[in-house]
Amino acid sequence: MAEIPLETYKSDVHPVWCPGCGDFGVLSALYKAMHALQLDPTKLVFVSGIGCSGRLPAYVKAYGFHVVHGRTLPVSMGVRLANPELTVVAVGGDGDGFAIGGGHIPHAARRNLDITYIIMDNETYGLTKGQVSPTSQIGHTSGSTPYGNVEAPINPIAFAITYGATFVARAYSGKPKELVDLIVKAVQHEGFAFIDAISPCITFYDTYKMIPQKLASVPATHNVKDKAEAFKLALDTEHLYMGLFYQESRPTFEESVMATVHRAESKGMPKFDDILTAYR
């Protein structure tokens, strides 16, 4: 089959993002990853939440579903249950994923829903013009915390590992090559692949100078099957590690559900009249 050119994945819609927004880096990495994987755009669905980041699906030439705030994961599950042939990539902000939608991550993770979930983590609420988010640091001053944030941030990587995500990674929009590589691996991974993609909000919380200072690659010697070691790297306060922390192989939700269906179906389709007769 002829190669699908990179341009095929780009839609004609021009992004609304501010120049310099980290979301551009994520989008361009996605194009490259799709191209590298030669994904069939007809069978590709982007599900997004609400926020600047949520606008992403319109910029990709594939199917998209821009849902309500915080609910990308249940919708992704519906898509996959309806048609397990579809590749689903869910994207959204840190507010979308960890605040309003925080209740869904544990369940998508423990189910091992076979999708890729990219959080475009800018440690702030971009679309609503700069309030604190669940990943903002203590002391951060913002529109809603004029005297400084008093709430401790969550640790997205430790959080995802704890809940049973089978692929857990961190990336940075400023390191496009690594980001592309991680997205490729995440899409290939069979199960719930979670990427905390740091993508700074240049307008409301510019972290472009801070992030690189702490950034370090997950050591090449790290064994991604070692959960305890993965936690250690995740909890390290000096470095912000980037790369794949943890990966495990476990049956996906869809596989298990479909196995149940096939078992039930193999007994033969029940006759409608027989079902009725049981109610005599």
Partner: protein, 576 residues
């Protein structure tokens, strides 16, 4: 006459409900028509439960009024239900548990040592329920072999010994009645001569079955009384026809899963009660905006908040009609009977697909757990509709929300080559691209509402009239009260009154024309509702100017009885 109302009362969790179900099925297998009503405690163990079954050889429309036969397992059952027993009705009670006061002479009392027989003769305390069924069988001429058949089906799985003990218990009750109970009451079921092909099921079962018949493929739900058994039924049956059921982490996830599945091309549905329905409203707006078919069932229970989880109410109509922000067209359909649960859910799924719109289906506890006999023919004619899909030519220059006469645009699904689009809750134009232009929002809002206008004809057509088409005393009710109202109308008609009842099924769009025609000669309109304020009455007033309206509201968690409707008719008649 073959028309007897039995009520069984006792401690919840001690088999009152299963005893009632056995009695009901035995009667149905003996070719009687049955109609049940149950209330049960919100507690798992303890609390008071009761089960009522009305039996007859003619079509039953309601649970009846007063009780003919009360089976009381304990004092509380007596205290709660004796006042509903007819004068000269039968009180059958467990004489080991309590004795009715000596001055109880308005009824015919039979004390039977149910517990003693169960403990001493059978050696199984809980078999007192089955002992009681044996007594009922003898006293009221319910064929013993029907009970034997059911007991064997129910208990054989649990082992030979349990099965034998239950059969012994049944016979012990029967024999005790033969030897020790001197029957002085007039109640006796005459064998039914007309054999009918009926099945007996609950409203929830009929709905679940209807959904499967209509092609449901994805069900997502979160447990909540009185809707849970829909999910449990489908979890068992849907995989057999290639469908999937998922219990989500909450109701928001349930409706989200439904929309995701429908977006990807499968028929999808969820069922809940008021608290869960409240959580779903934001997603319902998305369904309207993105024009994705979906069905949400609300089995209403007493509200607000956690309210009366196991009792009935018609309190969620406003939520169904108006719950959500923005001008958000949706279809609201109210189910009226067990038979209608089957047909109604098929209609709901069909409308959702055909009009690409959320369809909200209102049932309630009274209907959800009501067992009724339904003719098999009711299940025969199933017409299944599918959503409009784009042709290859349309896909070549695809516009997801292209303006059409009906407001319905062909829907591409992932996998369709060329059908790329992003469904979004933000306002968009015909090509699904964002547009916040004033003119566009007006055009697209009108498009989404146009679908409702297309459905007005159906709404007018499927509303049903009982009694006179243009009565002087008019009644308009909705939902699960249909049978009760119909029975009251029939009784009032026998007395020669100019009475009729209109019962709409679609509440949104409202059957305005039909209501206007129906009210042409009306001097008064009665609107019975199981809620405090009269939510339907307000809806009607918004569409049809009519005076005077006599609202009949109650909200104690119980359904209407025909007597209550009749009493209201008499009241308005006298003051009219």
């Amino acid at each position: 006459m073959n028309d007897i109302v039995f009520r069984i009362g006792g401690e919840g969790g001690e088999g009152v409900i299963s005893t009632g179900e056995l009695l009901t099925r035995a009667l149905a297998r003996a070719d009687y028509e049955i109609y049940t009503f149950r209330t049960y405690p919100a507690e798992i163990k303890g609390g008071h439960a009761n089960f009522q079954v009305r039996v007859s050889d003619h079509l039953l429309l309601s649970q009846g009024d007063k009780i003919d036969v009360l089976l009381a397992f304990n004092q509380e059952a007596y205290d709660r239900h004796f006042k509903f027993l007819k004068v000269n009705g039968v009180l059958l009670y467990d004489s080991d548990s309590f004795s009715p006061p000596p001055d109880t002479n308005s009824c015919i009392g039979y004390g039977v040592p149910l517990t003693k027989i169960a403990v001493e003769r059978i050696g199984l305390k809980f078999s007192k329920n089955v002992v009681a069924l044996g007594v009922l069988s003898q006293l009221f001429n319910i064929p013993l072999e029907r009970f034997e058949g059911l007991i064997s089906e129910k208990f054989k799985k649990k082992g030979e010994e349990v099965f034998i003990k239950n059969i012994q218990a049944l016979k012990a009750g029967f024999d005790y009645a033969v030897q020790h109970v001197k029957k002085t009451d007039p109640y006796r079921l005459e064998p039914v001569t007309r054999k009918r092909d009926v099945v007996v099921m609950t409203g929830n079962e009929a709905m679940a079955l209807g959904a499967v018949a209509a092609g449901l493929k994805v069900y997502a739900g979160y447990p909540i009384t009185p809707a849970t058994d829909i999910m449990e039924w489908l979890a068992r049956e849907l995989p057999k026809v290639g469908g999937v059921v998922v219990q989500t982490e909450d109701e928001i996830a349930a409706i989200g899963t439904v929309l995701g599945a429908s977006f990807a091309g499968k028929k999808a549905m969820t069922a809940t009660a008021g608290p869960g329905f409240s959580l779903m409203t934001e997603f319902l707006g998305l369904a309207t905006m993105t024009e994705i078919p979906c069905v949400v069932i609300d089995c209403q229970r007493g509200g607000p908040s956690t309210g009366l989880p196991t009792k009935t109410e018609q309190g969620d109509l406003n939520l169904a009609l108006y719950g959500g922000h923005g001008d958000s067209p949706r279809v609201v359909l109210a189910l009226t009977s067990v038979a209608d649960c089957f047909q109604g859910i098929i209609r709901a799924l069909n409308i959702a697909e055909e009009y690409q719109i959320p369809v909200l289906v209102l049932s309630d506890q009274y209907l959800a757990h009501r067992m009724a006999s339904v003719e098999r023919s009711n299940f025969q004619s199933v017409e299944v509709r599918e959503r409009l899909r784009p042709t290859p030519e349309q896909l070549a220059s695809y516009k997801r929300y292209i303006l059409t006469e009906t407001g319905v645009s062909p829907m591409a699904i992932p996998g369709d080559a060329g059908g790329f689009y992003t469904a979004t809750g933000l306002e968009h134009d015909e090509a699904a691209e964002l547009s916040f232009e004033p003119h566009n929002h007006e055009v697209m809002t009108e498009k989404r509402h146009r679908k409702l206008r297309m459905l007005e004809k159906t709404s007018n057509e499927i509303a049903k009239v009982y009694g006179l088409e243009q009565p002087e005393i008019a009644i308009i009710g909705w939902g699960s009260s249909e049978g009760v109202i119909r029975e009251a109308v029939e009784r009032a008609r026998e007395e020669g009154n100019s009475v009729g009842a209109l019962h709409p099924k679609l509440l949104k769009p409202f059957p305005t024309q039909r209501v206007k025609d129906f009210l042409k000669k009306a001097k008064v309109l009665i609107i019975p509702e199981i809620n405090f304020t009269g939510q339907f009455a307000s809806l009607l007033r918004a569409h049809v100017p009519f005076e005077p309206i006599a609202q009949l509201n109650k909200c104690g968690g119980l359904p209407f009885t025909p007597e209550e409707i009749l009493a209201k008719m008499k009241e308005v008649h006298q003051h009219g």
